[in-house]
Symmetry: C2
DNA sequence: TCCATTCGTTACAGTCACTGTAAACAGTAC
DNA sequence: GTACTGTTTACAGTGACTGTAACGAATGGA
């Protein structure tokens, strides 16, 4: 079923990757605002316009983990209870973080989080991604339950589930000083407590 | 306790109001993107720079209802259970909408919502406001319960409560064609259902 | 192997939100 | 009246993002 990749497609994919990787490193080194899109373009030997042909905005250059998470959540929600689905996805995300910490360093991972948290434009981008997550949850929950995506129960469930990402982000920030493994454990515990609260009712 | 307002202060307040009102009308008439900040400035007999002295961004020019809602929610949460507090605030917001519909017209109110929903920059602004709401809820809940603002239970509660604004927005959109009074009633019902779901547990 | 089409890159010109600064110009306090 | 203070202005920038036309290189078919 999978067509062999044509040369044009490979070049495109590789350039895209190079742009994103280069930009991410530059952002981490100098800060998001201190890097101009033209800088990233020059570093990759292309025109500024080319960058915008590949990415819709400067923020989109940052290699973040949102798309995989949205996809993972959608997939899980098809056959798992909402809260469990969220906990599984976030658990995998923690695994990914710990693995990243091994590949690079925990300090690097922390700096990445810090960058997102302290850059207004990236915070906004982050919020947009969260909305995409909620929308995906609504979609999946509606499909599963046979309700319309307008159903208030579906909506509030999706919102509550997405709230766990809130807890995740803050808990991670809170426990990060304890090191990768320990932090991951604490975050898991916080998430479990939050999920229990939702299960039991407010 | 209240100092009499000096002339400078009055001028400032009035200009600010004029800028916001003028901009809002222009946005509704021509669309957000078709109005340049310089246009608003010119319409008010002032420089573009002056506009930015009063408002931090073009989006902030739009007269929205977020600040009062954030304040109202904070206040209620001090002495009311979270879900009830949210329902009361949103109920008052519906009253306000119905009153606005009487003052202007329901069509006008709908166009305002449409403007916000269809303009990406305003959607983003809206998301930022929602975060402020959540943050205010966290603050109030933590104070009330004696927990820290980092507490996962506090966080998830705040997120779930803020989720009701999600339901509100969508429910309003869904029922708007039925007219102000009827729509308000339906939205109230949807909110009550969503709140019950949270109370009972997911 | 040649040709036509397709598609990404480039050069270039432009828009517009937003910023910094210094000078002019109030209102305010004494 | 005079010094002080806060706001507006004129002006000159920055940088993200867009549209367009020309160019060149991969592609698919003859």
């Amino acid at each position: 079923m999978r067509e062999p990749e044509t040369l044009r497609e490979r070049r495109k994919r590789e350039l895209r990757q190079q742009l994103s990787d280069t930009a991410t490193v530059m952002f981490l080194e100098r800060g998001f605002d201190a890097v101009r899109v033209a800088d990233v373009a020059r570093a990759c030997g292309v025109t500024e316009k080319t960058v915008f042909n590949h990415f819709g905005s400067k923020e989109a250059l940052l290699a973040d983990r949102w798309d995989p998470q949205v996809e993972a959540l959608s997939a899980r929600l098809a056959d798992t209870a909402p809260l469990d689905a969220a906990l599984e996805v976030l658990g995998e995300e923690l695994d990914f973080l710990v693995a990243s910490a091994r590949r690079h360093s925990w300090a690097e991972v922390r700096r990445f989080g810090e960058l997102i948290r302290t850059t207004p434009a990236l915070v906004a981008h982050h919020r947009a991604a969260r909305d995409r997550l909620t929308e995906a949850a609504v979609e999946a929950l509606a499909t599963r339950s046979g309700a319309t995506p307008d159903d208030p129960i579906v909506r509030i469930t999706a919102a509550a589930v997405t709230g766990l990402w809130n807890v995740y982000a803050l808990s991670l920030q809170r426990h990060q000083a304890k090191g990768a493994a320990r932090a991951a454990r604490e975050v898991r515990a916080d998430l479990a407590r939050a999920a229990d609260a939702l299960r039991q009712g407010l």
